[in-house]
Amino acid sequence: MLGNFQKAIIGSIQIHHQGFFQRPELSRTIADPDKVIANLEQAGIVNYSRRLETFGLAASDTTTQGVMLIGMDPQRESLVTELEKRIGIGRFLQSEDDYSLVVGATTASNLQVKLGDEIIIIGYDRYGAMVAESFTLVGVITSGEMGLDSGMAITNLSTLQEMVDLPEQITTIVISAEEKRIPSLVDELNQSLHEASLEIMPWYTMFPVMKEWVTLHNGFLYLFIGVVLFIVLAGEMNTMLLSMLERTREFGVLMAIGTTRYQVASMLLVEAILIGVIGIALGIILGYSIILVTSIIGIDLSILLGSTSRFYVDPLIYPHLQLDNLGITVGTILLASVLAGIYPAWRASLLQPVEAIRNG
């Protein structure tokens, strides 16, 4: 889900002028974007894209809505986000577009517009003067997420630069990077760009809630494992106890003909562990096939995502197997199996052969 979150719109790292993230004003553009880009390329970063971001008011014939106005480089955007894949109706922006607009599905329905309709965007230029331009709707984002589907209007970078009279200026550089490389990359960039009064922000600094959410997710893993432990324990204990009671007579016979109570107990313990091992094997096969299938087609969580979707969480999640999680789970189930075997084994070891044969 973490990957989805970044891929949707935020990217791994964003570079802005100092203070832009807190107060996104057009006076805070990146002073020398070409120098920053040169720096990035020197650091071996190829997945970057430029943006110009400001606020505006979108107006149709019937109504208006406040939007975050983003100018994007349509060709490079696909290097940093998968926004293009979220277009459900129409198409994404193209380089040769002029005053074309992509909005979220919620915005589109609020404005009661359809593809090809005109939308007026009203904003302020770099001097604070009001500007209004007419755009044509070419695409609608239907991601199922509030953050993307409402409150966002996307156009070509060059169009927006022209509209707000900031030729060649940008406010944001978005970078996509491998998750574990992010901290070192941020450090690296901070060092090489320290004079330029920039803020180099990894996604988790911009959206700490999301970071907490990921931490919480790990917490849930342990909760989940606790629940698994309990279920396996209760379920297998029940199974083992029943099967032990069912065979009371047989155990009585075994003991009468010379099986020690320790042998009977260890028989049940081994049985319990075997059940656990077989369960694990079946579980891995089943779970792995489910992961294999869903990692391709994804799992749609849009019904479940209410408020979290505000943080640009993609409702389509693509699960993948983490080996350490698997190890923890397997260990837990084995432990639970042993525990589940102990009580029935103990009960069996207390059986008196005569009574067991008579009553079993």
Binding site: E250, T259, Q263, N359
Partner: protein, 280 residues
């Protein structure tokens, strides 16, 4: 005389056994004196409830007693703890039950081989021994079958093979023919008698089957928990509950313990009866 004593397989002196029904002691055996010598084919006869199974279980080190001495193969089995008893049974006594009591998931051969493996023999050797004994009981060709694929008579033969496979000095059989038709039972008892004569293994068998009694080298008559000479001997009633049930002299705590133990057993039996009633 000395020689004869060494030959005795079972030696019981003044044995008393009480069951507790609630707080009431019920004498199941009182004043049993019995000696069984090596190679005997002794049959314990008596009406239902006369105490045959109780006596066999005591001799088989499966059941406790209240007073008396029980020596099996010159060993005082009453002084043994549970693990010693298990070990003793494994190496010295073979059991044959009325309901065959084979292990369902094992084949006939595995059922027989199991005791050899318990004795520490290798799997291969155990299987060979099992094959040998299955041939002795004339079902060598059925060794691969599981108990539910065998007739009652065949299953009981497997049980005989299992009892013999541990090479015991003594075999205890509790009504081995009771679940079989008379023809099958007669064959089985003839086979057991033949093995007894050929191997010299001592047999103590409880039964009210006339065929079994006929095959006996000695008939022991049990009536109301006492050994009688003839069936029309009326067993003398116990002089008092305390004499036959010394347990009633026990301190209250132990009596209460016995009471709770019995109560728990009764409750379980009641539950089982309810279950079987519902099923039928």
């Amino acid at each position: 005389m000395l020689n004869q004593q060494a030959e005795s397989v079972i030696k019981i002196r003044d044995l008393h056994k009480c069951y507790w029904v609630g707080t009431m002691p019920f004498p199941a055996l009182y004043g049993i004196n019995l000696e069984i010598e090596s190679g005997e084919f002794a049959v314990l006869a008596g009406r239902s409830g006369s105490g045959k199974s109780t006596l066999l279980n005591i001799v088989g080190a499966l059941e406790s007693t209240d007073s008396g001495r029980v020596e099996v193969l010159s060993r005082d089995i009453l002084s043994m703890n549970q693990d010693q008893r298990t070990h003793f049974r494994l190496h010295n006594i073979g059991f044959i039950f009325q309901a065959y009591n084979l292990i369902r998931v094992f084949s006939a051969r595995e059922n027989v081989a199991y005791v050899c493996q318990l004795q520490g023999k290798s799997k291969k050797e155990s299987m060979e021994i099992a094959n040998h004994w299955l041939q002795e009981v004339e079902i060598g060709h059925l060794g691969y079958r599981r108990p539910d694929q065998l007739s009652g008579g065949q299953q009981q033969r497997v049980a005989v093979a299992r009892a013999l496979a541990s090479n015991p000095k003594l075999i205890l059989a509790d009504e081995p023919t009771a679940n079989l038709d008379s023809m099958t039972g007669r064959h089985l008892i003839r086979l057991m008698r033949e093995l007894n004569q050929r191997l010299g293994t001592t047999f103590l068998i409880s039964s009210h089957d006339p065929d079994v009694k006929q095959a006996a080298s000695r008939l022991i008559k049990l009536a109301d928990g006492q050994i009688v000479e003839a069936w029309n001997d009326i067993p003398k009633p116990p002089s008092s509950i305390t004499s036959s049930c010394p347990m009633s002299n026990l301190p209250l705590t132990e009596r209460l313990q016995n009471y709770f133990k019995a109560a728990r057993g009764n409750a379980r039996n009641k539950k089982r009866r309810r279950k079987t009633r519902r099923r039928s």
